[in-house]
């Protein structure tokens, strides 16, 4: 019986460690996206943001200050993105395809 109690205790401790280990900070890579004629173009990387900072950048968005003529890969955009144009900040997308 004592042996069983010890093994149950071990299981409990292991589960607690696993549960605690699974609680990590919310972080994501962000980038600026423009919608031109129904297609999305990635304009620039904004780097990794975490927690409150991540929430703020998604909520506040991004303001373009210079005219952008090419996307992040150097390809020409169909129309330039001008200062004041609506752009979106996307965070947490998969980028390995």
């Amino acid at each position: 019986m004592k042996k069983t109690i010890i093994s149950l205790k071990k299981i409990g401790i292991t589960l607690s460690i696993l549960l605690l280990a699974s609680c990590s900070d919310e972080c994501a890579e962000c980038h600026v996206v423009a919608d031109i004629d129904g297609a999305e173009y990635e304009l620039m990387e904004l780097g990794e943001h975490c927690e409150e900072e991540l929430h703020l950048i998604e909520e506040d968005g991004y303001t373009i200050v210079d005219t952008i003529l090419v996307d992040i890969d150097g390809n020409n955009l169909p129309n330039p993105v001008l200062p004041g144009d609506a752009v979106e900040v996307h965070c947490g997308e998969e980028h390995d395809h």
Binding site: H55, G92, D96
Partner: protein, 744 residues
């Protein structure tokens, strides 16, 4: 000194002696059951006794004896033992001793299961329902709940990758299919194709499936079918049990772990379960991985049961927290399939994804009288659904659906042949959108259901009949802008005739479903399905009436049934595509066809050839066709499916590691060419699976299951896959392994 010690010993022994004597008297008072081998007249050691009403699963002593205590009159009891045919009997409180003789099993074709809704053995049910044991279901080559359920003829799944699957019964799904867990109606925004069943097979004992309309018993919305899940039994009185179930699948590199604890005294019982599943993106036969098809799920479940005299109470709680990636997400009109696959398999969370948190609480009370029983089930369920599309911290939509159902029923035996049941069902449902979300797809709403029913069951010689009527009313209120009531009278008539080894059943059932808020007022992007959906305020209630016939034959070598059906709908509601787009997404309108019909048949055969004692052949066939007015096909009707299994039982030996069975399965799906206007056709395909069952015998027996699904790495796309239009196939070859370790 000795005298003093002797006095102390006497004082200590006296109360114990008294207790032993009291227990002995109680034991004498208890009715006993002796389970004996019919051939030898010897008791069968440790035979199993299942008491349906108490949900207990106990073992006899070494002499095959068991004391029956605190059992309600007319409660069905199943007795079984490995190598013997199971038997069921009805407990009567004035019978002092039961002697049950079990026949040695030549072969056990199908186990005896009691229907959780009717309380009688599956084979004796009047209505044509199917009960499947989930805990024994590893044979179905599936580790997830919906995979197990879809091994039943007439049932398939509508899936979005590996993480989301919904039941499809005879071609009906979503709002037309109801789910119950221990009698509690589960509401989970089932209008969305991407809103699957959120609970896992953890702690689930069995599922009962009602195919077709059945509003008489289940109320509004029971139009296409019902899934009724039942939790695992409690352990035997005065025992405890701890178990660990772990499984692994190579395709998704997924692991699933469940820890269970069961405790029971004579009157109080407790079951506790917790589980965690984590799956990465699934691999296609081409070797690429479907991006964001990953998911993870935490779950916790507790059940507390108590019984005294003629009163049984069960308090249950479930928590399910799932994070599910949404694969195949796009705003493009002509997407390229290569954009949805990757050469790398990932499991971390990326957008778009769903966060689903479900909590279910239920309190069930049963009181048994001499000729009657009264049951009251009250509960509360909450479903929090959050979908993130473009922002990780700001949800696209966030909804909370709360449900407060109540079900009161009284059954009374008017005489030996007639059982009368009356019931009252009520349900309050509230849906609310979060202000933190960027948008809302359906508005805040409230609905209130009330239903009254009466059923009479009559038995005469080999004929059993059942007839019933039910009145339902649903009031829907939306933001003080819309308020409307829908009501309907439904009925059912069933008859079963048994002659020798044949049973013939016929059922005429009806069902109704008022339009859902999503169908009335949807106006927004549904990211999970990549659609812009628009509702219609003037939709009427749908109504269905089904004729269902079944012929069953059963002997010691053969078990088969043939089950044709015809289901006619009035004012059938469905989603119709348009040629418009909003925000680059195709627009779908909710529309209503004045008439629609589904028809088809299910066939099942289990043959055990006499010349090959250890061989089993099983064949299941599901055929369903669906057409609306002008003979246009209905959308999302499954492909015709042939499911063939060949199983070999190995001889039992006293080895530590023993091979129990080997099973080879072929699932063949015919091509689908009769498709609705916005669907594409689907090609025929066959999948081959192999499964090996082992047992490790130490202090306790540990079942082990391993096998391969899709052995030949066949590329296939099921007609009901949401990823079909993107050309994304189903999973590639998949090696799996599972072990169920009972600690004590």
């Amino acid at each position: 000194m000795f005298k003093q010690n002797s006095h102390i010993i006497k004082r200590a022994i006296k109360p114990r002696l008294l207790l032993i004597l009291t227990l002995s008297v109680l034991n004498l008072k208890a009715q006993t059951i002796s389970i004996i081998d019919k051939e030898t007249n010897q008791g069968i050691p440790f035979a199993i006794v299942e008491i349906h009403e108490l949900q207990t699963h106990s073992n006899c002593d070494i002499n095959g004896q068991f004391a029956l205590r605190n059992i309600s009159n007319n409660s069905p009891i199943i007795v079984s033992s490995p190598g013997f045919e199971s038997k069921t009997f009805i407990y009567k409180k004035n019978t002092q001793q039961y002697i049950i003789k079990l026949d040695k099993a030549h072969v056990i074709l199908n186990e005896v299961i009691i229907s959780p809704t009717t309380g009688i053995v599956q084979q004796s049910n009047l209505t044509n329902i199917v009960v499947k044991n989930i805990s024994e279901a590893n044979q179905s080559f599936s580790s997830n709940l919906m995979g197990i359920v879809s091994s039943i003829p007439g049932v398939q799944t509508l899936s979005t990758g590996n993480g989301i699957s919904k039941p499809v019964i005879r071609g009906m799904s979503g709002l037309k299919v109801l789910t119950f867990l221990n009698g509690l109606r589960i509401e989970n925004q089932q209008w969305g194709n991407d809103h699957g069943i959120n609970f896992s097979k953890m702690g689930i004992k069995s599922v009962e499936i009602i195919k077709g309309p059945s509003s008489l018993l289940y109320g509004a919305d029971a139009l296409g079918g019902v899934l009724y899940f039942i939790d695992e039994d409690y352990t035997s009185p005065n025992t405890w049990q701890t178990k660990v179930e772990t499984s692994f699948e190579s395709n998704t590199m997924s692991s699933s772990n469940i820890l269970g604890l069961k405790l029971a005294s004579e009157t109080l019982r407790l079951n506790l379960f917790t589980g965690y599943t984590n799956a990465a993106d699934y691999k296609t036969p081409e070797g690429s991985f479907v991006t964001n098809s990953r998911y993870q799920a935490y779950s916790f479940k507790a059940a507390l049961g108590y019984n005294k005299d003629h009163w049984i109470v069960n308090l249950r709680y479930n928590l399910n927290s799932n994070t599910i990636g949404l694969p195949g997400h796009t705003h493009e009109a002509n997407p390229n399939p290569s954009n949805f696959v990757s050469s790398i398999q990932n499991r971390y969370r990326v957008i778009p994804f769903q966060l689903i948190n479900d909590q279910y609480v239920s309190l069930e009370n049963k009181i048994f009288f001499d000729r009657s029983s009264l049951k009251l089930l009250t509960g509360y369920t909450t479903n929090s659904l959050t979908e993130h599309e473009e922002k990780v911290t700001i949800p696209g939509i966030q909804m909370r659906l709360q449900n407060l159902p109540i079900h009161l029923s009284l059954s009374h035996n008017l005489n030996e042949k007639t059982l009368w049941t009356v019931g009252l069902q009520s349900m309050l449902v509230k849906n609310s959108n979060s202000e933190e979300a960027l948008s809302s797809l359906i508005p805040d709403s409230k609905s209130n259901d009330i239903g009254l029913y009466s059923i009479i069951k009559y038995s005469y010689q080999q004929i059993e009949t059942q007839a019933g009527l039910r009145f339902d009313k649903r009031a829907i209120e939306i933001n003080n802008e819309f308020s409307k009531s829908y009501s309907k009278l439904n009925g059912s008539f069933s008859m079963a005739y048994q002659k020798g080894k044949f049973t013939l059943r016929s059922n005429i059932n009806t069902g109704y479903r008022p339009p859902h808020v999503s169908e009335l007022f949807a106006d927004g992007i549904h990211h999970g399905t990549n659609r812009y959906e628009i509702g219609a305020k003037d939709l009427k209630s749908e109504f269905a009436s089904q004729l269902d016939l079944s012929l069953n034959y059963r002997n010691e070598h053969l078990d088969f049934y043939l089950n044709p059906f015809y289901n006619r709908f009035k004012d059938y509601i469905f989603l119709m595509p348009t040629d418009e787009t909003i925000e680059s997404l195709p627009v779908y309108n909710y529309e209503q066809a004045s008439k629609a019909q589904t028809y088809g048949t299910e066939f099942y055969l289990h043959y055990h050839p006499h010349f090959a004692h250890r061989l089993h052949l099983e064949q299941g066939i599901s055929i369903v066709e669906g057409v609306q007015e002008n003979d246009k096909p209905l959308p999302l009707i499954p492909q015709t499916n042939f499911n063939t299994r060949l199983k070999y039982d190995f001889e039992k030996r006293d080895n530590k590691l023993q091979i129990e069975t080997i099973t080879i399965q072929r699932s063949h799906f015919l091509e689908k060419t009769d498709v609705s206007s916005f669907e594409t056709t689907s090609e025929a395909y066959s999948i081959y699976n192999v499964d090996l069952k082992l047992k490790f015998n130490n202090k306790s027996t540990t079942p082990i299951s391993l096998g391969v699904k899709n052995i030949f790495n066949t590329r296939y796309i099921n007609h009901l896959s949401s990823l079909k239009n993107l050309g994304l196939p189903g999973p590639s070859r998949n090696l799996y392994f599972s072990i169920n370790y009972i600690i004590n």
